[in-house]
């Protein structure tokens, strides 16, 4: 069994008693209430839950986009909880690709430039190599012919593919996606999920946060959150 084989390895991502609290107008809100979780290399993890369950908060913690209130997050040997925003950005650039629900492509850059951007920041290869890799990734996503168009000139599904290509730009071992199909129709959403499946099959660890329970069917592991707590965990799309 693939999953059992993965579980024999030491975990790639470890969360220990992760707590995140926000101070809002209505007072203090605990978004995550002591999450403990271990994720392995090559897993395709889908995290589901209703709105307000803490899904986005959890993925923001894992990717270092936000800081936790207490607990620990380790990715390989890196204590993500101890990284300051500067260190987190640098680390994220090389180790985690992030995909957002609303794509978040920079509107003033062409598609190929959007994909090159993380390589620029990480100073990966020469300019020529960056461009070649960006074109390669766009080709893989089937949108190379639009490479020199601005994001506003292509459809939502195509934009999300560019966002995935951008996330893969520095060839990170982990890909984290927050509601990546939330803004897409079902046919386009399926094609985007196939891309994730394909990436996981090629050894990437893929974490997808979604409110759509159906997405779990293609995952190797399904985690359900409710009120900031992990209430269920299943394997192989169950």
């Amino acid at each position: 069994m693939k999953t059992n084989h993965l579980q024999l390895q030491s975990p790639l991502i470890r969360l220990r008693q992760v707590v995140k609290k926000y101070n809002g107008i209505a007072g203090e809100v605990t978004a995550l209430k002591g999450i403990n979780l271990e994720l392995h290399s090559g897993e395709f993890i889908v995290i589901t839950g209703k709105s307000g369950a803490g899904k986005t908060t959890l993925i923001n913690m894992i990717t270092g986009l936000d800081r936790l209130t207490s607990g620990e997050i380790w990715v390989e040997d890196v204590p993500v909880h101890q990284l300051n925003p500067e260190q987190a950005a640098r680390w994220r650039g090389r180790h985690i690709g992030v995909v957002f629900q609303s794509f978040e492509l920079l509107p003033t850059l062409t598609l190929v430039q959007n994909v090159m951007l993380p390589m620029d920041f990480a100073r990966q290869g020469t300019l020529k190599e960056r461009r070649e890799r960006a074109m390669f990734l766009l080709e893989q996503m089937g949108i190379a012919e639009h490479a020199h168009k601005p994001p506003s000139a292509i459809s939502g599904g195509q934009q999300q593919r560019v966002a995935i290509a951008r996330a893969m730009a520095n060839d990170p071992p982990i890909l984290a996606a927050d509601e990546p199909t939330g803004s897409l129709d079902s046919v386009t959403a399926d094609s985007v999920l196939q891309v994730f499946e394909h990436l996981a099959a090629n050894g990437k660890t893929v974490i997808v946060v979604t409110h759509d329970e159906d997405t779990a069917r293609i995952a190797s592991r399904h985690i359900v959150l409710a009120d900031g707590e992990m209430i269920r965990e299943a394997e192989d799309g169950k």
Binding site: Y22, N23, G24, I25, N60, T63, L65, D66, R67, P85, E86, A89, R90, R92, G93, R94, G97, V98, F100, E104, L106, P107, T108, L109, T110, V112, Q113, N114, M116, L117, P118, M119, D120, F121, A122, L127, K128, R130, R131, S152, R166, A167, A169, N170
Partner: protein, 799 residues
């Protein structure tokens, strides 16, 4: 090939052209103001001094009653401490152009116009030097006497002879006060023409340049030595003058202008810095989400800062490239305007390197420094917060303003059918940091604008106060003292005369405790407690009383020259060559020349002139300017007919015009500044507010998505703009009071040795309100209209 991050910089600049233009414009107007003022200040202070130096200005001038010859000039030239000496003949006469009215003129006769050594006169137009039996007129004076080259004029000489001559050309004489200011035209003739005038050959004005011309005390000592020498030779010296080292004829006015330009320049610098901070802050707030995305894909703070600093530097660079040539033109226009009012030509209007450096520093450094705070504010938050559209993860704090603007407290909004009003009010206070910055910038611009108007109003009020003393309409100066009874009786015979009074004026000097002499003082002796001369504006102490004997009131302009004089002091004044003791009882408002006042009875007694008067004062039965003018002319004609010789007849309206003309240079400058600051404040405001609206393009989309019509959307933003503009106007009105008070004090001290009579300009207040409301509404409406033209889909996708 270029890295994608640099493509972002270029595309950010090009993709939103409106925003780029607004930002560059905001920075440019600030730089333009700073550059114009800095350069004009330099040109006026340095280039005018250079131009003045070309005439080899005299350190001191001595006038004699009896003409002296070239032997005396030679003997003075050989004195130690004398660098150069020249002399000319000065005649005070009356002039009539064609069939016009008689006016005063000062005529100079010079030996050799081509080889003048001191206070050189330059040819301007027509003949030079003056041909025999023809006259040249100073170029500015030609307009004052309403004449042209080729016109014929009639001159009435002190010896009562009349001479008709042609105006052969014009000269440029920088050593004299411009005729439009002191009202006296200057004419230039040859020594042959002097003989034709029937005047005795010789000089009566000695012009001296001291070796130590920069040392005021040494110059004064040298002039005193020359005076002693002249007096020993039997010459009577009615007047002698020394100039402040390197000082131009209107130095007080120039100093006031330079001071105002310096202060307004600093304020403009401050204002433009805030405009830039505001603009950059708006830009970064707009880019907050993109910053979040870049952080998410691995960008470090330094990398993001480098991107935006490049962007900011580019804005600064383009603004500089536009502002520098514009400010050169602005500075040259302003300097040329000022120089023409001072009757100077600025051949070389050199723009100092320092001016470019200030602009470069402001244009490049200020935007960079201005970016630091918004950068820190935007970069401190996490990537997740930066990307959150509604800031759900930030920690909002409820403050007093938010509480007041909450639904329960905005009770009045519940009863309005315009929900947009509620939205506008809440939107105004939504981003308090930005609001404060915008308000501060607008408040500063408004306060400076209102202050400029207030200084102008204070100057005009000061003229009113200066004129308060003159309770008469016409003043007739006689060529010599006449019996008071006779001249007043003759004045009464003229129709339209309602009241008649007289006074005398004596040239005097203060003898200081160390026996040195002051500059000339005009000692006026009006009738106290009766007659037409009222008290001038008293700053300290009191006005003269009928029972006063040797009491004297000194003007603030005299205090400026003799700062040790205090109320209660006993001072010695040399009047008609004799020393007399006076007690200082008050300090009055003065203007231009050092003046003092003592009672008529006492002054006539000590000068052995009891029963005589040199000046007749008349109040007319109708105060209409044309009527007063007609009565003045009738008086002049009647006095001539009865054999009373007149030196000058002046109406108070003319006196007022002269005082206003003197202040006119400053008020012209202030108007220029007001326009400049309105431009800076106005365009800056438009830029900032327009960026604020552009930032909310998504909000416009939401409003339209839920059914708001374009006009409804526009009103939300127009009302918001007007709220901000109106708020800033209230703060401007308050801030203008201390700024203008300080500036009018400084202007007054430079001009008349005392603060101006402070008058807060209501006109300035209302003009700014009109400007700020119009600009706020326009600045909000135009971009909102632009956003309304986009489709809802386009708007919601707007970044």
């Amino acid at each position: 090939m270029m890295a994608a991050q640099w493509h972002k910089v270029i595309n950010d600049l090009l993709s939103n052209k409106t925003r780029t233009v607004l930002i560059i414009l905001s920075i440019m107007v600030g730089l333009f103001a700073v550059g114009t003022i800095a350069s004009a200040r330099y040109i006026l202070s340095v280039e005018m001094a250079k131009a003045f130096a070309q005439i080899n200005p005299s350190s001191g001038v001595i006038r004699t009653v009896q003409p002296f010859d070239s032997d005396f000039i030679q003997s003075v030239r050989s004195m130690p401490g004398v660098e150069e000496v020249d002399a000319r003949r000065m005649i005070s006469a009356r002039i009539k152009v064609n069939d016009g009215d008689w006016t005063n003129i000062t005529i100079y006769a010079v030996d050799d116009y081509q080889n003048m050594r001191v206070n050189k006169i330059f040819p301007q137009e027509g003949a030079f030097p003056p041909p025999n039996k023809e006259i040249l007129i100073e170029r500015v004076a030609l307009n004052v006497i309403h004449a042209r080259i080729g016109d014929t004029i009639t001159i009435k000489l002190p010896n009562e002879k009349l001479r008709t001559m042609r105006i052969a050309g014009t000269t440029h004489d920088m050593a004299q006060l411009p005729a439009q200011i002191d009202g006296t035209p200057y004419g230039y003739i040859s020594t042959e023409t002097l003989k034709w005038f029937g005047e005795e050959y010789g000089y009566n004005e000695l012009q001296v340049v001291a070796v130590k011309k920069e040392d005021k005390k040494a110059v004064q000592e040298l002039i005193n030595e020359i005076k002693d020498k002249a007096e020993r030779a039997g010459y009577v010296i009615p007047i002698s003058m020394t100039a402040e080292p390197g000082q131009l004829p209107l130095d007080d006015v120039l100093q006031a202008i330079l001071m105002l330009m310096g202060v307004l320049g600093m304020l403009a610098l401050f204002l433009s810095a805030f405009l830039i901070i505001n603009t950059i802050s708006a830009l970064l707030t707009q880019q907050k989400r993109q910053i979040g995305v870049m952080k998410a894909v691995g960008a470090t703070t330094v990398q993001i800062m480098r991107l935006y600093l490049t962007l900011v530097l580019f804005y600064g660079l383009v603004a500089l490239m536009l502002a520098i040539p514009l400010s050169i033109t602005g500075a040259r226009t302003l300097s040329a305007l000022m120089a023409s009012l001072f009757n100077f030509d600025l051949n070389q209007m050199y723009i100092p390197v320092s001016s470019y450096l200030i602009q470069i520093a402001v244009g490049l450094l200020v935007p960079l420094l201005a970016s630091i705070y918004p950068f820190l504010a935007n970069l401190r938050i996490s990537a997740a917060e930066a990307m959150s559209s509604y800031g759900a993860t930030v920690q909002p704090k409820r403050d007093i303003i938010e509480h007041l603007l909450s639904g329960s407290n905005l009770w009045f909004a519940r009863y309005t059918v315009r929900r947009s009003l509620l939205l506008s009010i809440r939107n105004t206070f939504r981003s308090k940091g930005r609001l404060l910055l915008t308000l501060f910038t607008l408040t500063l611009a408004g306060a400076i604008f209102i202050s400029v108007f207030t200084i102008r109003a204070s100057l005009m009020r000061t003229v009113d106060d200066l004129m308060a003393m003159w309770g008469f309409d016409v003043m007739i100066n006689l060529t010599r003292p006449y019996r008071t009874e006779r001249v007043t009786q003759e004045a009464w015979r003229v129709p339209g005369v309602e009241e008649v009074d007289s006074w005398s004026m004596f040239p005097a000097r203060r003898i200081r405790p160390d026996d040195s002499e002051s500059v000339p003082i005009y000692l006026f002796a009006p009738h106290i407690g009766k007659g037409l001369a009222a008290s001038p504006t008293i700053f300290q102490g009191r006005w003269l009383l009928p029972e006063d004997e040797n009491a004297v009131v000194v003007s603030s302009t005299l205090i400026k020259e003799e700062p040790d004089i205090k109320i209660g002091d006993k001072i010695v004044l040399k009047v008609n060559g004799k020393k007399h003791h006076f007690q200082v009882v008050g300090i009055s408002m003065g203007f231009s020349l050092p003046m003092a006042y003592t009672s008529n009875d006492y002054a006539l007694r000590i000068t052995n002139n009891v029963g005589y008067a040199e000046t007749v004062l008349v109040k007319t039965s109708n105060r209409h300017p044309q009527y007063i003018d007609a009565v003045g002319k009738a008086l002049e004609k009647h006095f001539e007919q009865v054999g009373i010789s007149i030196n000058a007849a002046t109406t108070m309206q003319e006196e007022r015009s002269e005082a206003e003309a003197m202040f006119g240079i400053i008020t012209s400058l202030l108007l220029f500044m007001a326009v400049l600051l309105a431009l800076v404040g106005g365009l800056g405001l438009m830029g900032t507010m327009s960026i604020n609206v552009l930032e909310r393009t998504r909000e416009i989309g939401i409003l339209r998505a839920i059914g708001a019509a374009n006009i409804g959307v526009a009103w939300v933003f127009i009302l918001e703009g007007i709220s901000i503009g109106g708020l800033s106007w209230i703060f401007s009105a308050l801030l203008a009071a201390p700024i203008s008070k300080a500036l009018s004090s400084a202007t007054g001290t430079a001009l008349i040795g005392q603060p101006l009579t402070f008058t807060y300009s209501m006109a300035g207040l209302w003009v700014w309100l009109l400007l700020i409301i119009t600009l706020s509404a326009l600045a909000s409406y135009l971009p909102a209209r632009g956003a309304s033209r986009l489709t809802v889909r386009e708007v919601l996708a707007y970044e």
